[in-house]
């Protein structure tokens, strides 16, 4: 028995031993333009063991000097946000800049912003799974985690904006002494059900996907404990904690094929039901506005426009978080290749064009409907600056920031060079994230601040509590994401292994040949690469049949 602790081996591996630096930093080998050649999903010919060691290594080893200060900063911001929420709860919603005219502002802007970001995870998990897009393995776990954290942030705002927080339970159909029930005709109640269902189903999806990977972490901790016991060493407390916690969470998963079969069916079902779910949730969020009679809100384009915007903003956030992670974690680039980034850049371009189309169509319908208040909102509350026209919009800068960030900035992705440069993608993702926040601000505040009666018109100005609460929600999100990066499997280990070439039961690599003692008509051969059919191998013991 080797006396080298397995952790040491992993630490050496993570230090870069065995990692192959790309010859050309602009092309890691995944950017193959020939449609006849499949781009590798994992670079540097990683073995199954490499995948386990690298991904589990992130969860088992300290991630570097940047992590703790970043976490502390994020947690401090989250703490300030929590304090602001506490201040709001004991004082009232008057601590925000709301007024009689603008009674929804940053609160609901933040809600829609976060819930939109929360859509990419399920989109990647569910829709890309249904379309058999194998590249989803590069991002699906972290995107799902992001979804859950974003929905948690989203859930805060509608809950705290109600004013009389002690009545919040009345959104649920709970029997009560007054014998009253919720109003099921209200889109706000639909929203309660949609968002809570979405949060629950996303969590189940994320957790179910993690069960095998948690079992892998459990087994590794268990193996280290057994080795330590055999060597008579003291047991390491982190491994004992891992063995217990991951042991409980992985529910005794033992990688049985009969289990895998049901697991894959259940996963496909979850993907199948999450796809209409993700579309329904943001549609219902848009009903909060669309079913009202406020000019600028009362439009039928809202559901598809909100869904496209959610995918757009969600992918931007995935890129915003994972491009730095790609640089900060060793070997991360083997799993998240330049091609994956390029694919996501293309999605940003497409969905950016969709929201751009929706922005344009809103103007067309405002004009075509011949509804004067509607056209007024679009022209004089949003687009025409107040320095161009006396009735112009004081919030013109918000509108044009949104247009610049969401419609103009993704256009750089028409050029291949930009789609393949992580720095450009990150910058655009940042702009899109900002732009998507402004989109919700524009929809909510510019529609409300000048509705119907000019005598009621009122500007909205955020208070420090508004700003710090939003910053706090970013802190909560980042804190949770950093903890996820540190302690949980960041890539779906089992799924990544399953997309490696040697995972195919019909793969005929050199090492695989030794075990080939049968020529069997197996269905669904995957190897389209024109491999020779398996032959009897003289070296294998007892290949007789």
């Amino acid at each position: 028995m080797s006396s080298i602790h397995p952790d040491k081996v992993i630490a050496e591996q993570l230090a870069g031993i065995g990692s192959v630096p790309a010859a050309d930093p602009g092309d890691d080998g995944s950017l193959i333009d020939d449609p006849a050649v499949r781009a590798p999903l994992v670079l540097n010919n990683r073995s199954f063991g490499d995948v386990t060691n690298i991904v589990c290594g992130y969860a088992e080893n300290p991630p570097g000097k940047w992590w703790l200060p970043t976490l502390l900063l994020a947690a401090a911001t989250a703490g300030i946000g929590m304090a602001m929420i506490g201040y709001l709860l004991i004082t009232g919603v008057g601590v925000w800049g709301l007024n009689n005219q603008v009674n929804w502002a940053w609160d609901i802007t933040n809600f829609v912003f976060w819930i939109g970001i929360g859509h990419a995870g399920t989109l990647i998990s569910a829709i890309l799974c249904l379309f058999k897009q194998k590249w989803r393995t590069a991002v699906n776990r972290s995107a799902e985690a992001m979804t859950i954290f974003a929905v948690m942030c989203a859930g805060i705002f509608p809950a705290i904006h109600v004013g009389r927080i002690w009545f919040i339970w009345m959104v649920f159909p709970v029997p009560n002494a007054n014998a009253i029930w919720p109003n099921f005709r209200s889109p706000l109640l639909w929203d309660v059900f949609a968002v809570s269902t979405y949060a629950t189903v996303s969590f189940l999806f994320w957790y179910m996907g993690m069960i095998p990977d948690l079992a892998t972490l459990r087994d590794r901790a268990d193996r280290r404990l057994r080795r330590s016991r055999a060597l008579g060493e003291a047991l390491r407390i982190p491994d004992m904690v891992r063995a217990y916690v991951f042991g409980l969470l992985s529910l005794g998963w033992r990688f049985s094929s009969r289990h895998w079969h049901r697991y894959e069916v259940a996963y496909l079902i979850l993907a199948g039901i999450s796809t209409p779910l993700v579309l329904s949730v943001h549609s219902i969020v848009s009903f909060d506005f669309a079913t009202s009679v406020v000019p600028g809100w009362h439009t039928t384009i809202f559901p598809p426009y909100f869904v496209a915007g959610a995918i757009f903003g969600g992918f931007a956030m995935v890129l915003l978080l994972l491009i730095p992670a790609r640089e900060l974690f060793a070997n991360f680039k083997d799993f998240l290749t330049l091609r994956h980034l390029e694919n996501m850049a293309k999605i940003l371009l497409v969905t950016g064009m969709m929201v751009g189309f929706a922005y344009g169509m809103e103007f067309f319908i405002a004009w075509y409907s011949a509804s004067e208040p509607e056209l007024y909102v679009f022209l004089f509350n949003r687009a025409i600056p107040d320095w161009l026209h006396p009735d112009g919009a004081p919030y013109w800068w918000a509108y044009w920031s949104m247009i610049f960030c969401n419609v103009v900035s993704p256009q750089v992705f028409w050029w291949k060079r930009n789609r393949r440069d992580p720095r450009v993608i990150w910058a655009v993702a940042l702009l899109v994230t900002i732009g998507m926040w402004f989109e919700r601000f524009v929809i909510i505040v510019t529609s409300l601040h000048r509705a119907w009666l000019p005598a009621e018109w009122h500007m909205f100005f955020p208070t420090p509590v508004d700003i710090l609460t939003f910053a706090g929600s970013c802190g909560i999100f980042l804190t949770l994401f950093l903890l996820f990066l540190r302690f949980l499997p960041v890539f779906p280990i089992a799924e990544v292994k399953a997309v490696l070439p040697q995972a195919s039961p019909h793969h005929h690599g050199h090492e695989a040949h030794n075990n080939h003692n049968e020529e069997h008509g197996t269905p669904g051969g995957q190897s389209a690469g024109g491999h020779a059919p398996p032959r009897h191998h003289p070296d294998t013991p007892g290949g007789g049949h």
Partner: protein, 206 residues
């Protein structure tokens, strides 16, 4: 999957007729044998070995792999799970109950006039009906999958072997249990050897 696997203690106190049959198979050290475990190094290797085991007519056996092997259903010869039916039935039931809840609360229990619309109109109930259907389906998919798999189960004789822990890393295993009516110590050993197993181990009970 025997009840005794989950509740080993109560099984002892069951009437004799209900107790699991005594194990005739013994390991080399004399303790009761639970099964034989073969290790394989590659996916094609274990896939073809599974075809042999299937063709030999075994029923109480399993293949353990770090990831779902493509086409393993055919290599092992088992039928597609009925889980989707359960999910469909429970999703529709959930959606129906969700609709009924909304109708009863809005049209019977608390008739709140909103915009002069009929109290029992179905249209506004659509979103929540759908959401409750999805929620029921999701829970059924996860819990049903675990229940059919016999999970959670926090112990298994296989984990007595340290090298079985590699099933979550990069090794593949075929395990034939002694409760299989066709189990024969020597024949299984030979089958494994012929299938190209890298190593074969006895797994004892307990």
């Amino acid at each position: 999957m025997a009840v005794a696997d989950y509740f080993p203690l109560p099984a002892k106190y069951l009437p004799r007729a209900l107790q699991p049959a005594p194990n005739r198979h013994l390991a080399a050290d004399g303790s009761p044998l639970h099964g034989l475990l073969a290790e394989f190094d590659t996916a094609p290797g274990v896939y073809h070995a599974a075809e042999h085991v299937r063709d030999a007519g075994f029923t109480a056996w399993d293949l353990h792999s770090p990831f779902p092997l493509h086409g393993v259903e055919d290599a092992m010869g088992f039928k597609r799970t009925k889980l989707p039916i359960a999910v469909g039935v429970i999703a529709l039931t959930g959606a129906g109950l969700g609709y009924l809840m909304q109708w009863w609360m809005s049209a019977v229990a608390y008739r709140l006039p909103v915009q002069g619309k009929p109290f029992g109109a179905w249209e506004p109930f659509t979103p929540i009906t759908f959401e409750i259907g999805v929620l029921s389906a999701a829970f059924t998919a996860l819990i049903g999958m675990l229940a059919l798999n016999g999970l959670p189960r926090f112990h298994h004789p296989l984990y007595k072997h340290e090298h079985f822990l590699a099933s979550s890393d990069d090794k593949f295993f075929i395990y034939i249990e002694t409760r299989d009516p066709k189990f024969d110590r020597a024949a299984v050993q030979k089958l494994f050897e012929q299938s190209g197993a890298a190593r074969i181990d006895e797994v004892t009970e307990g």
